[in-house]
């Protein structure tokens, strides 16, 4: 297993722990000392770096989370790319192309961050294609009108930012640094999405209706992006203890709702929740119950586009195999020959 191999490599390379502990490979005492050093580093809000010792489960959790994050960027290109060839103005087309390009770039940063944990991009893509690793449930919904591009920018990127800004302080250095770069670009996309919806909302009655319809369809799936409620979230407690996560799913979801309500008002659009209202006592908005059955079905692969998204991803990969083989063959021919004087 790649993670175990990497673990071994990390220990061998370690030599001396961050607190000066001598890391003698293979002894229990040394492992205990390494574990204590790790815990102390996390407690002191220090960053864990690729060559540092880390618990196997910490490594595995990070690989799972970063890979899922990378996969989401890559699959997330599809619902938006669906509208590139139909964008209604050249300015909007340029913005959308730049955004989808950024997402491919984010996927690249994140696969690189995952690789520092001893896995490889090919292995991760293979797990995505075979369904052993997941991507965000949101991208299993279809983009049916141009306004969906705006709703994705405003709501989906908005939810992603709410989730991801705290990750800029994640205990694992390479992930935290990738998130700093990604969050800057995501905030830009979110503002562009908002501005797109605003133009529609203030446009013709047909455009306004298109914007409202998109928000109606994307609102609840966006709230689901924060994951299951706290009492059903299997990874949360440990991730918070390790400072991979900084806030619970429900806290972040609440924060997102509180941000969106006034934005929807200034957009001149409504949110599709009759139970949504300000709660003076809590200082937060109350909101209606999420349909967790739908969420679980989408996660199980039964959402509207699960099949289509994975099929397209695999097709791109399979049809590109000869290109990757050609590049590898060419590189081999031109790097292993006799040295050129």
């Amino acid at each position: 297993m790649a993670t175990a191999a990497a673990q071994q490599t990390a220990r061998t390379q370690l030599g001396t722990g961050r607190d000066g502990t001598v890391g003698t490979v293979g002894t229990t005492d040394a492992d205990d000392a390494l574990a204590r050093a790790f815990d102390a580093a996390v407690a002191a809000d220090e960053r864990i770096e690729p060559r540092d010792w880390m618990p196997d489960a910490y490594r595995a959790t990070l690989v799972r989370q970063i890979a899922q994050h990378a996969h989401s960027e890559i699959i997330g290109m599809q619902p938006e790319a669906n509208w590139i060839t139909r964008a209604p103005s050249l300015r909007r087309k340029a913005i959308l192309m730049a955004k989808v390009q950024d997402e491919a770039g984010h996927g690249l940063y994140l696969y690189s961050a995952a690789e520092t944990l001893g896995t490889g991009r090919d292995e991760l893509l293979d797990k995505l294609h075979s369904g052993r690793q997941k991507y965000s449930s949101i991208f299993n919904y279809p983009t049916l009108t141009w306004a969906d591009v705006g709703a994705i920018g405003w709501l989906v990127d908005g939810a992603a930012i709410t989730n991801q800004v705290p990750l800029c302080r994640c205990s694992y250095g390479p992930y935290a640094r990738a998130m700093v770069r990604i969050c800057k670009e995501e905030s830009f996309h979110q503002r562009q999405g908002y501005e797109l919806l605003l133009a529609l909302s203030k446009g013709t009655p047909e455009q306004h209706a298109m914007a409202q319809d998109a928000v109606d369809r994307w609102w609840w799936p966006s709230l689901m992006m924060f994951g299951p409620p706290d009492d059903e979230s299997s990874h949360s407690a440990q991730s918070m203890a390790w400072k991979i996560k900084r806030h619970s799913n429900d806290e972040l979801r609440q924060r997102f709702v509180d941000i969106c309500v006034p934005q929807a008002e200034s957009l001149g659009l409504t949110l599709p929740d009759p139970d949504l209202r300000w709660n003076e006592e809590r200082g937060h908005h109350d909101f209606g119950a999420i349909d967790w059955t739908e969420f679980r079905e989408v996660l199980k692969g039964n959402g509207p586009c699960n099949e289509q998204r994975i099929t397209q991803r695999k097709r791109a990969h399979d049809e590109g195999a000869w290109v990757r083989e050609a590049a590898a063959a060419h590189a081999a021919k031109h790097t292993t020959g006799a040295p050129q004087a």
Binding site: P88, A98, Q101, A199, Q207, A316, G320, W322, E325
Partner: protein, 243 residues
């Protein structure tokens, strides 16, 4: 609307060069989410964005960019037939890029050196097209001198698109360059890349009764109308709306 009624040489030229960039950008945009590796998602999108940027400047020199892009019929477009050709496989896309970006780079280098209306645009575009050309040349060499399959595909693609390359050197009203010299330089460059890629220099004609200069006159190939239908559909469904 058909072609702008106030056709001056500068407008004709801006439309011809702008349509080339617009249409090729659109074709490259179709790759997004389908590229063979993530790095190519980024690279193809990058080239598409550069071209779209050029198209917007050029079309704005001829009129309103969105009216020109979204409300002209197929017969009023002035792009080369080469750039409207469907993507095909990756080799086909790369062959189209090789032929066109070599032409565009050589053309913009000349326009940037002059003092005509396109000199400011060309000064920026020459840097972008140098990158596009390098990308296409590197992939041509990789695919040509890669595996047996990639060489076969690349040879096939280069041959299939060859007949559309003569049109690039037909005179365009308002574009003040020496077409014959441009063509000679283009041929030498492409032949050198194909040689380094261990590929065959295609032997067929580079122009025929239909392909010679036809795109520039608004005579296009059949897939182009379908491409425009997709590109223009939403804009045309909401007359007068702004986005």
């Amino acid at each position: 609307m058909t072609a702008p009624s106030t056709d001056t040489p500068a407008v004709s030229a801006a439309l011809a060069l702008g349509d080339d960039a617009l249409v090729l950008s659109h074709r490259l945009g179709e790759w997004m989410g389908h590229a063979p590796v993530l790095e190519e998602e980024v690279a193809l999108a990058n080239i598409a964005l550069d071209l779209l940027g050029q198209a917007r400047v050029l079309l704005s020199m001829a009129g309103d960019e969105d009216e020109l892009a979204y409300l002209r019929e197929e017969r009023a477009f002035r792009n080369l037939q080469l750039v409207e050709q469907p993507n095909g496989d990756f080799a086909h896309t790369i062959a189209r890029q090789l032929y066109f970006s070599t032409y565009q780079h050589l053309l913009y280098a000349r326009l940037a050196a002059g003092d005509g209306p396109f000199a400011p645009l060309a000064a920026k575009a020459v840097k972008e097209t140098a990158y596009h050309r390098d990308h296409a040349e590197q992939w041509t060499v990789r695919l040509g001198d890669g595996t047996e399959e990639s060489r076969t595909r690349m040879n096939r693609a280069c041959a299939a698109l060859w007949r559309f390359t003569g049109e690039m050197f037909q005179p365009v009203e308002g574009v003040d360059v020496d077409g014959a010299a441009l063509e000679a330089e283009w041929l030498a460059s492409v032949a050198d890349v194909l040689r380094r890629a261990t590929l065959d220099l295609p032997e067929g004609p580079r122009s025929g009764a239909w392909t010679a200069g036809a795109g520039r006159q608004g005579l296009h190939t059949e897939s182009f109308g379908r491409m425009l239908a997709e590109m223009q559909h939403l804009h045309r469904s909401h007359p007068g709306a702004s986005w």
